[in-house]
């Protein structure tokens, strides 16, 4: 009876995983297809990879995606961390008011955030460009960084910062030597979220980027005819993401193992 249940539940989970990985497997498979077809696999070839590296617009979209993601991640992580720490020491009324407004872009549909920013830029007579694109990305990433750090800050013992001051640390030293070292996992995960939000974004970029500036999503969206090189690009992204996630997991598990070892000594 118990075995049967287990069989059922793992069977179901496998089905769910199959569903989730189906398009990814499909893309990977057809990235090696010999022909342009998306329905028939005619033979193995690497021609779409070659095509991709020769396609200037495609390469440029990768470049813009990475550039925007890196800049917006760095800026939003710094601003978000500093703000979250400041807010955690603010009066409750102010804190909840700021967090409420901060939540707006998270709760709002992307398209509303996007047209809002576009209207703002246009009304302020700012030409849509790479700069407006980066500003838009920073502004929708910071809320996520703050949301990821706030709970961790709330868990911190209030007395710990006071203990640092008590032992002679200036407020800045208390920040760098005591508070930030304790919340850095949350900062890291905030940065990771910010990066993936920016990397994947389509809607907000679509409305706020200047003419001729396309990221990967915009490139895919604006394709007139299907270009199988996109499959190659997807495969590449899948490989990179998998490698990074696996590495992060290995490192974090190794770190916790080492910590355990240290304690046993």
């Amino acid at each position: 009876m118990k075995k049967k249940k287990k069989f059922l539940s793992s069977g179901y989970l496998i089905l769910v995983l199959l569903f989730i990985y189906l398009p990814i497997a499909y893309v990977v498979l057809f990235s090696f297809n010999d022909s342009k077809s998306m329905t028939k696999f005619t033979g193995f070839s690497l021609r779409w990879y070659e095509n991709m590296f020769n396609d200037r617009t495609m390469l440029q979209s990768i470049y813009y995606t990475v550039l925007v993601a890196v800049i917006s991640t760095v800026v939003s992580t710094i601003v978000g961390t500093v703000t979250a720490i400041g807010l955690s020491k603010a009066k409750k009324v102010i804190r909840s008011a700021v967090l409420e407004v901060n939540n707006l872009p998270v709760m709002n549909p992307d398209i509303v955030t996007a047209i809002g920013l576009m209207l703002l830029f246009v009304s302020a007579k700012v030409q849509l460009s790479l700069v407006t694109l980066i500003l838009a990305h920073i502004s929708f990433s910071i809320p996520y960084v703050i949301l990821s750090i706030m709970p961790k800050l709330r868990q911190l013992d209030d007395n710990v910062a006071e203990a640092a001051l008590d032992l002679g640390a200036t407020p800045v030293q208390a920040l760098t030597k005591v508070i930030i070292p304790q919340i850095y996992p949350a900062i890291l995960s905030g940065a990771l979220i910010a990066f993936s939000m920016s990397f994947d974004d389509f809607v907000i970029s679509f409305f706020t980027a200047g003419v001729g500036i396309n990221n990967i999503s915009m490139y895919v969206y604006s394709m007139k005819r299907f270009n199988p090189s996109v499959n190659a690009l997807s495969t590449l992204i899948v490989v990179v993401v998998t490698v990074i996630l696996v590495l992060v997991n290995i490192i974090s598990s190794r770190m916790s193992k080492e910590r355990k070892k240290e304690e046993n000594v």
């Binding site: 500093v82 020491k89 700021v98 709760m107 992307d110 809002g116 993936s196 809607v203 895919v220 996630l245």
Partner: protein, 259 residues
């Protein structure tokens, strides 16, 4: 301690410019007459009246709400058992499953949707069905992870206590696990329903040109037609509907918990 609070001053200025001001801009455009790129300050409610007077717009709105609702319900029905089964696995397997579920979330949504377009070419389905599959595909992992988090946070002693008090597995599920996982379901709904209503990439790529949801409507009025005032009004209407439905969900949740 007060000196720390000063660190959040710059961001308060930032949200005034980049969060509050854009919202006000939408409101302003929605309440004024045509006049692109420059505001006209001629106040009017015509934009809203126009939306509600035209049956096509209303049917688009209803279609968007319907498909978002269908997506949400399907995600709960498919996701809940998965979350429950995952929570019953050993800790190591749980981490692995969560990792496997999150991994595809990192891959560009447009690319995944394009892949579905390829797959669905092999089948003869109506547009709406294709869109629904695409939506469930994109949002299911969010639902599973939200519900799983709320189940795995529960104290296992609760289940033992329920058994001790004479409840069998089904009763324990119905009376203990399910009510306690409601917050997880609610946050799952937030993560699914909300973007599903406003989505315009999935319907555009999977539904073909003739399948229009409210998000596409906004895109059309901003990009193609260039009627920003009307486009702003549509997005305001959509935002209000979403806020209202979220409020309703939370209220239902609160009532359920009081009972």
């Amino acid at each position: 301690m007060k000196s720390f609070f000063r660190m959040s001053y710059p961001y308060i200025l930032w949200i005034a410019i980049f969060i509050v001001a854009p919202m006000l801009m939408i409101l302003l455009y929605a309440l004024t007459r045509m006049g692109n790129e420059t505001l006209t300050f001629q106040f009017t409610l015509d934009n809203f009246a126009r939306f509600f007077r035209e049956p096509t717009f209303i049917s688009v709105l209803i279609r968007s709400l319907r498909i978002a609702l269908e997506t949400t319900v399907l995600c709960i029905l498919l996701g809940y058992p998965a979350a429950l089964f995952i929570a019953n696995l050993s800790e190591k397997k749980q981490t692995l499953m969560v990792l496997l579920l999150t991994l595809p979330m990192w891959i560009n949504m447009l690319l995944k949707t394009y892949a579905w377009r390829g797959i669905l070419q092999n089948f003869d389905l109506v547009s709406e069905m294709k869109v629904l599959i695409g939506m469930v595909y994109v949002f299911l992992p969010y639902m599973i992870i939200q519900i799983h988090t709320s189940i795995s946070k529960m104290d296992r002693e609760l289940f033992t206590a329920a058994y001790d008090l004479g409840a069998n597995r089904w009763v324990t599920f119905k009376k203990v696990i399910l009510p306690l996982s409601v917050p997880g379901i609610i946050s799952g709904i937030t993560l699914v329903f909300l973007p599903a209503v406003s989505s315009f990439v999935i319907p555009k790529l999977l539904g073909g040109g003739d399948y229009v949801l409210i998000g596409n409507l906004i895109e059309i009025y901003f990009i193609t037609t260039g009627d920003w005032n009307f486009g702003s009004a549509i997005s305001l209407i959509m935002a209000l509907i979403i806020i209202a439905s979220m409020y309703l969900t939370k209220k239902i949740d609160r009532n359920a918990q009081e009972e």
